[in-house]
Amino acid sequence: MDLSFLKRQMAGDDALVARFVAIFKAQVPAQVSQLPGLCENEDWEELSSAFHSLKTQFNYLLMTDFAEQMRELEESVDNGETAFIATRIAEFTKTFDLFWQTEFREN
């Protein structure tokens, strides 16, 4: 995980960085797992908020590909373009789960 940008944004405060990462690890997988359900229930407002939140979190950790996908999905939902959202969420969660297992695999 590249923490260089996050460190700059947290004014070099290691304690704040560590707490940010802890929140990230606890919050992001839970938010990602909720995406398909929100889509299924057509809760577009909540879904847009979730994409919005994930986008910012990915950006802090320089996960720019994920951040860009979140930005596109948020924009689609906000514009009412929801026809292919379920498929795109399924693709994203698959990639994300793989990434997460590799990056944060428990020893």
């Binding site: 919050q27 908020s49 910012t56 979190q57």
Partner: protein, 232 residues
């Protein structure tokens, strides 16, 4: 101490921002939705507000409009996950003083807050206030004259001092201690009864003007709330 209202729906991350600003010596009230933020703004006095734009219940733009209706001089900084030019323009048109795109640097946020407050203090010093004017009311300090809905009321020295204090704390809390010190130069317990009487008199004077209200903040003091403010 600088008093800040921070409103951000990212519950856990915004705690980090709050703690950083508190480490820098600010007093921060943190709320997580627009409505709770507005309620906090009505009940307290803040030097500056930091508002997220995309929030549940009430977005940052709507909230900024409502804050400006209560106190048009309170500086506002918007935080947003978007970097859309239209959003920046909309924010600035609503009277925002600055704009930060997430992910933002904590230090940059703090420095911008400091810069805005420095600018505000300079502006306040440059204004010599002799008259206060609201919707249908006008207070001439030199003449000790209050005009409400066209009717002129000659104020006593104490009424005038109290109203001046309210004007100086408009849309902010005027504590009982500050009021008593400002009027009588001491905080003797028995002054409290007199203060209640003078506040009631001012309320009565303002009765014909619905745009002005003196709120009773239990255990704190009073707040003069006006939807419009013009200083000349």
């Amino acid at each position: 101490m600088t008093s800040l209202l921070l409103i951000d729906d990212e519950v856990q991350y915004s705690e980090l921002t709050k703690e950083y600003l508190e480490m820098k010596g600010c007093n921060v009230v943190l709320k997580h939705d627009g409505q709770a933020g507005l309620d906090a703004f009505k009940m307290n006095s803040f030097d500056l507000c930091v508002l997220d734009i995309k929030m549940p219940k009430k977005d940052g733009f709507t909230l900024a409009e409502e804050i400006k209706e209560i106190n048009e001089t309170t500086p506002i900084i918007f935080l947003t996950g978007q970097s859309l030019k239209e959003d920046k323009i909309k924010g600035l048109m609503l009277g925002a003083d600055d704009y930060l795109t997430k992910p933002f640097s904590m230090e940059e946020l703090y420095l911008r807050i400091k810069a805005i407050l420095k600018r505000v203090k300079v502006q306040e010093k440059a204004i010599v206030i002799e008259q206060y004017q609201w919707g249908n009311s006008k207070f001439d300090l030199e003449l000790r004259e209050l005009t409400v809905a066209g009717e002129k009321i000659k104020l006593t020295s104490i009424e005038s001092k109290l109203l001046k204090l309210f004007c100086e704390h408009q849309n902010k809390v005027l504590t009982r201690e500050v009021a008593m010190m400002g009027i009588w130069g001491d905080e003797e317990h028995y002054r409290g009864y007199s203060l209640n009487v003078y506040v009631s008199k001012l309320r009565k004077f303002f009765k014909p003007d619905s745009s002005v209200e003196i709120l009773n903040l239990h255990g704190e003091g009073y707040k003069l709330v006006s939807k419009q403010r013009v200083i000349s």
